[in-house]
Amino acid sequence: MDSSEIKQLQILAAKARLGAILGTYHAKSGHPGGSLSAADIFAYLYEKEMNIDPKNPKWADRDRFVLSKGHCCPSLYAVLALKGYFDWDELTKLRQVGAMLQGHPDMKGTPGIDMSTGSLGQGISAACGMALAAKLDNKDYRTYTLLGDGEVEEGQVWEAAMFASHNKLDNLVVIVDQNGLQIDGSVEDVAGIEPLDKKFESFGFYVIKIDGHDFEQIAEALDKAKTVKGQPTAILAKTVKGKGVSFMENQVGWHGTAPNKEQYEQATAELQAEIDRLEGNC
């Protein structure tokens, strides 16, 4: 990846953050914190990594993405809109009656959503099912799933992890968005999950630790995952909750609170300034 490609990804991620702020502001609810921490990962997956066709979202051979931490959909919706799955204006109707964009991902109603999620711990199992289906059909498509670091407290995550390694699902990549915060406080204070790398290793995963906001590291990890055979890969991505909006960064209160008008304007101004800066330098 050259610097201009990285810049394009940074612009896409900043626009995804802008979309998450726009959506949650109009909805007067939703989860900006985790949407912002995961935005770079969404941007890379949909721009560079995944073999997809936004004009044909149900294409049988496409790569799959399951947002196991379903509440962070606002920035995923923004990326899907920017990739052409649906109109950007849908974000202004997020979570409202009759909206295409539900509070948590709905595979039946939203083009580009591969699995309905929202109840934590369940998406990773569905991703295992998709990866296993690819194996049975001798298809090359890969399945990606993003989990929260609070989410790994769910027992089902570890049932799925055992299933993935037992069935040698090397076409499955589990990414953990380690922003370190969950609703009730810091993950380590609420129900410590570390050492997470050793946990995934002992469950049979090939583990890679990265900075989840560094596109070169994201790229390198996902490229490496393609070469891993006979076992699934877990990418533990260290991130900042609320990334990109100064007053939201590392603040647990922004897990599930929408910005008011003043906060919306400030967040939008910051993100727009970042986009202008990046575009000006292209």
């Binding site: 049988a60 799959r64 399951v66 709905d106 595979m107 039946k108 591969d114 699995m115 309905s116 929202g118 109840s119 711990g121 369940q122 998406g123 990773i124 199992s125 569905a126 991703a127 295992c128 099912g129 998709m130 990866a131 296993l132 289906a133 690819a134 049975l136 059909d137 027992g155 089902q156 049932e159 799925a160 055992m162 299933f163 037992h166 069935n167």
Partner: protein, 315 residues
């Protein structure tokens, strides 16, 4: 009447899956370490490449099945009714039913006839739990032939289905030559205008023997077999309420939320008549041989006959 086959519906289910899988390559079977008991082991032996044991992890099994269905397969996930619908309730609700994925959930060892394992394994709530979930179809076949037909219909139907299987070997009463199965359609097994008995699953044959016993006494009870509890056959129930004026329901399930309540929901809205619910009277089971337990819980021929007789005499 053809020869009576004495077989547990779990076994008929396992056999049916094998027969269907020969033609339909999309059928994939999952179990949670109970393949020998749920009889998906029959499938495992014949199609080892299309069988996956998920281990004792029902929640993940349902989630994996949902992902498989999202990728175009027809997954069948089996466990005991207790763990399939109890432990994995929320996975069924959110990962299967909400996106209306084509997953078939088989709950074996349903009801008190699970027997010696006792209360922890005798699921008497599964019909209520599954019936309460939008998009979910609920089947409770009554004998070997009905289970085979229901399994075929469930596989051919595109959407979530819960199918209830029994552990106890029971006599078949349907005649395969004249039997036809249609999802959502009740079957009148015995004509009569004095009262209607509506039964489901393993106790249908007991109800059939009971109405025949009553016929010899001059009581003409209609018997309806409801194999599809959801969507329920409203027409056949309303017609029975209008023509006979009195209903007795029989099920091997808690009287809260099961067939009896499903029937009450229909008649209370369309044609209110008195409904007497025979079943497990809101209490837990206990260990013992299945036949003894069915007798203790008053779900056998003499108990059903007595209950119906008493109601008719009192009227």
């Amino acid at each position: 009447m053809s020869q009576v086959i004495k077989k547990a519906t779990r076994e008929s289910f396992g056999e049916a899956l094998c027969e269907l899988a020969e033609e339909n390559k999309d059928i994939i079977v999952f179990d949670a370490d109970l393949a020998a008991a749920t009889k998906t082991g029959i499938f495992k032996k014949q199609y080892p490449d299309r069988f996956f044991d998920c281990g004792i992890a029902e929640g993940n099994m349902i989630g994996v099945a949902a992902g498989m269905a999202a990728a175009g397969k027809i997954p069948v996930a089996a466990s005991f009714a207790m763990f399939a619908t109890g432990r994995a309730f929320e996975q069924i609700r959110n990962s299967v039913a909400y996106p209306k994925l084509n997953v078939k959930i088989a709950g074996s060892h349903a009801g008190i006839s699970t027997g010696e394992d006792g209360a922890t394994h005798q699921c008497i709530e599964d019909i209520a739990i599954m019936r309460a979930i939008p998009n979910m179809m609920v089947l409770n076949p009554a004998d070997h032939w009905e289970m085979k037909a229901a399994t075929k219909a469930a596989i051919e139907y595109n959407g979530p289905v819960y199918i209830r299987l029994g552990r106890l070997a029971i006599d078949s009463f349907n005649d395969p030559e004249n039997y036809s199965f249609e999802l959502g359609k009740g079957i009148t097994l015995h004509e009569g205008d004095d009262i209607t008995v509506i039964a489901t699953g393993l106790v249908v044959n007991e109800a059939l023997k009971a109405v025949k016993e009553l016929e010899a006494e001059g009581i003409n009870a209609r018997l309806i077999n409801i194999h599809t509890i959801k969507p329920i056959d409203r027409d056949i129930i309303i017609k029975a309420a209008k023509e006979t004026g009195r209903i007795v329901t029989v099920e091997e399930h808690n009287v809260i939320g099961g067939l009896g309540d499903a029937v009450c929901e229909v008649v209370s809205a369309e044609c209110p008549v008195k409904v007497t619910k025979l079943g497990v009277q809101d209490r837990f089971g206990y260990s013992g041989p299945a036949l003894e337990l069915l007798d203790k819980f008053e779900l056998t021929q003499p108990h059903i006959a007595k209950a119906v007789r008493d109601i008719v005499k009192e009227a």
